[in-house]
Amino acid sequence: MTTAPIAARLRRATTARMSPRRRRGVQRNLTAYGFLCGALICFAFFSWYPIVREVLLSFQKTNFVGAPTWVGLDNFTTVVEDPVFNDAWLNTAAFTLLALVVGYAVPFVIAIVLNELRHARAYLRFVVYLPVMLPPAAAVLLFKWFYDPGPGLFNQILHAAQLPGLSWLDSTDTALISLVLVSTWMNLGSGTLIYLAALQTIPGELYEAAELDGAGIFRRIRHITIPQTRLILLVMLLLQIIATMQVFIEPFLLTGGGPEDSTVTVAYLMYQYAFNFNNFGGGGALGLMLMLVLMVFSAIYLRVSREEAR
């Protein structure tokens, strides 16, 4: 049996009871629907199903052996009463804010510089993108050595410049910003490439006209570059907030949440609940809270981008 008759029969069976116009539409797009199925199945199994399970878990107590029991808001009460709960949210907010200041601005500036360069652009683009190609765990462990207060690279540089060394990860004052630096370095390449692509869509005539009018580089950036890339800047802002609020790998591998809980983030606390404290309900409750907060940012973004489109 060949596949052609099966496809024809399937097409006939699917479209038998439809109006002629709709039938034609379905017949025309049947192959596309077939391809779409693959993506839908993947999303269903790897995104939607886990989300549904996570929401259910946050209202249940389960040991994964017997049937789960519904516990209402108990899991939420447990995590809210956890003494580290407030610290985790404050640390996450601080990390997000610092990551915006450092991680949002730096790639944009680098993209502008790369865009202005006349030589070695491809090479420098490669160099900037290189950290993205490193596995995150390897990159983070590399920084573990950089931050070593003894023979670590950063303190060696400071000592060579006759400056006192820092405690980096070992101090509550510097641990969080140290994690931000790692995160920025790891993700710099992707942001820079996206900004660079956006910069290259700006018509060159605008800059030429501005130059003829005597505008310097900063005025050109302020009056041409930023307005022309506003939409992509907004998209990146949202993505940055969503990504940085879920920060996990940096505190997990570098500080274990310390010193003194100064780098415990919401995602890290979620991990502690689910996998170390054997409390998936608590982990689910924290996950749901984080998801709701991120949904607020998504809604703000959608509203802003709709206004922008108008």
């Binding site: 994964f64 003494p83 070593d148 070992d170 310390g258 010193p259 996998f275």
Partner: protein, 458 residues
């Protein structure tokens, strides 16, 4: 649009709920076997067992396969399906394996996690079947307690140890210390650490863990060593905010900031201190005898360079180890088969993991004072004699530790260990990273947090 979404989501949610309920349902099919009866000779049983040595552990894997073959010859109706992993278990994957129905019938577990698994009813009660295990009555009651809840038993031990002072004999010699007489008190540890760190060249005298809940784990060991405890007798209140708890932190603070003998890098985890020790950059830390094997296998160090002394203070020490528990969904036949296998492989002197003569022939290290599964009874004596007869390690290096093994009382980890350890990580890391850390305040805050955790748990 929303109705379209609802149409798509409804069957998905229904399917996932169905799958969840199906996965969570018990499997009591065919449970007709009497629990105290031996496994019927005609009952074919296949069991999955965790912690089969990985392929990279060539000798251990060969021995495991030999043991499986011998066991199956004795019990032709039982098939052992070993599941390998290295390390044997990452506690963080336990829940995922359980949720995904991937947990072995006989699964491997650390002592640290056994209490939480028992409390959550995630393991089968094997009490009615214990008559099938010939060796179980010989197990040290202190070790047996790890898997007991009241009169019910949920597992059997495989390895056990108590914590002591692990030290670098080579650095002791260099620092002018006697490597055959390790420190016995915390004051002596402090003195030795000062002398070792005075060697310079990035050498640290004494190191302590302070991240990933391991700081809390070692704090517990140190509190026990000072005669203190972690919880009140009823387990409902924290009991570490005491002179013993303060003494532990004060000692660390003095070594870190007054003597500068603990190095500058903190937030260490076990892999960090093992790397430092193997590289000859660390003098001492609290550990178990099998640290020597890890240092030799993973970091190519030499056994001759290491030794173990008793836990400083010797008032008490933390017991640790690992063992096997049974899947809560395992059938009575599987539990019986599993018990027979564990009896053969883990608990019979001269067989399985306790076959020291074969381990020696295979070039594996023999002679470390571990495990000590049995009390001072005939089985225990037989095990020790067999080990001594095949020892190929410098066992004298571990004699100071072994001499006090039976005199230093071993204590188990507290209930809700991981939550307490997470809280105490913060305390230990504060003392090691902040010169002006206020110990009284830290302990008082930690006690409040711990009491709150315990109140919620109860």
């Amino acid at each position: 649009m929303s109705s379209t979404r609802a149409r798509i989501l409804a069957p998905l949610i229904a399917a996932s709920l169905g799958a969840t309920l199906a996965a969570c349902g018990g499997d009591d099919s065919g449970d007709k076997t009497k629990k105290d009866q031996p496994l019927a000779a005609d009952a074919k049983v296949s069991i999955t067992v965790g912690c089969m040595p990985a392929k990279s552990q060539t000798a251990q894997r060969k021995e495991w396969l030999e043991d499986v073959a011998s066991f199956q010859k004795l019990h032709p109706n039982i098939t052992i399906d070993g599941k390998d992993a290295f390390p044997c278990q990452d506690p963080n994957t336990f829940q995922a394996k359980l949720a995904g129905n991937q947990l072995e019938d006989v699964f491997y577990v650390y002592f640290t996690d056994s209490r939480s698994i028992i409390n959550n009813r995630q393991a089968a009660d094997i009490t009615p079947y214990l008559g099938l295990s010939k060796q179980y009555p010989s197990v040290d009651p202190a070790v047996e307690k790890v898997f007991k809840d009241g009169e019910k038993v949920y597992g059997l031990p495989r390895q056990n140890y108590s914590m002591g002072l692990f030290y670098n004999r080579a650095l002791f010699r260099k620092a002018g210390l006697n490597p055959d007489a390790p420190p016995k008190t915390w004051a002596e540890v402090r003195d030795a650490a000062k002398k070792i760190s005075a060697l310079g060249d990035g050498i640290t005298g004494y190191a302590e863990l302070s991240a990933k809940n391991q700081g809390g784990w070692h704090f517990t060991t140190s509190v026990y060593s000072q005669g203190g405890d972690m919880l009140s007798a009823d387990g409902k209140k924290a009991a570490f905010n005491t002179p013993q708890g303060k003494a532990v932190l004060q000692n660390l603070k003095d070594m870190r900031w007054t003597d500068n003998s603990m190095g500058t890098k903190q937030l260490l985890v076990d892999a960090d201190i093992q790397r430092m020790m193997a590289a000859g950059k660390l003098g001492m830390y609290l550990g178990a005898p099998d640290n020597a094997t890890a240092l030799v296998d993973q970091f190519k160090a030499k056994y001759d360079d290491f030794g173990m002394g008793p836990i400083p203070g010797s008032t008490g020490t933390l017991m640790g180890g690992d063992g096997y528990m049974f899947n809560a969904k395992a059938s009575p036949e599987k539990i019986k088969a599993g018990l027979l296998w564990l009896d053969y492989y883990c608990l019979t002197p001269g067989q399985g993991q306790l076959n020291y003569a074969r381990a020696k022939v295979d070039g594996r290290p023999v002679g470390l004072p571990q495990p000590k599964l049995f009390a001072d009874n005939a089985v225990g004596q037989q095990d020790r004699q067999l080990r001594a007869a095949s020892a190929n390690l410098p066992v004298a290096n571990f004699k100071p530790y072994e001499d006090t093994y039976n005199t230093v009382p071993g204590k188990l980890e507290p209930g809700h260990a991981q939550q307490l350890y997470a809280i105490l990580d913060s305390v230990v890391s504060a003392v090691l990273t902040r010169q002006d850390a206020n110990i009284d305040q830290l302990l008082s805050d930690a006690q409040k947090k711990a009491d709150s955790v315990l109140a919620r748990a109860s």
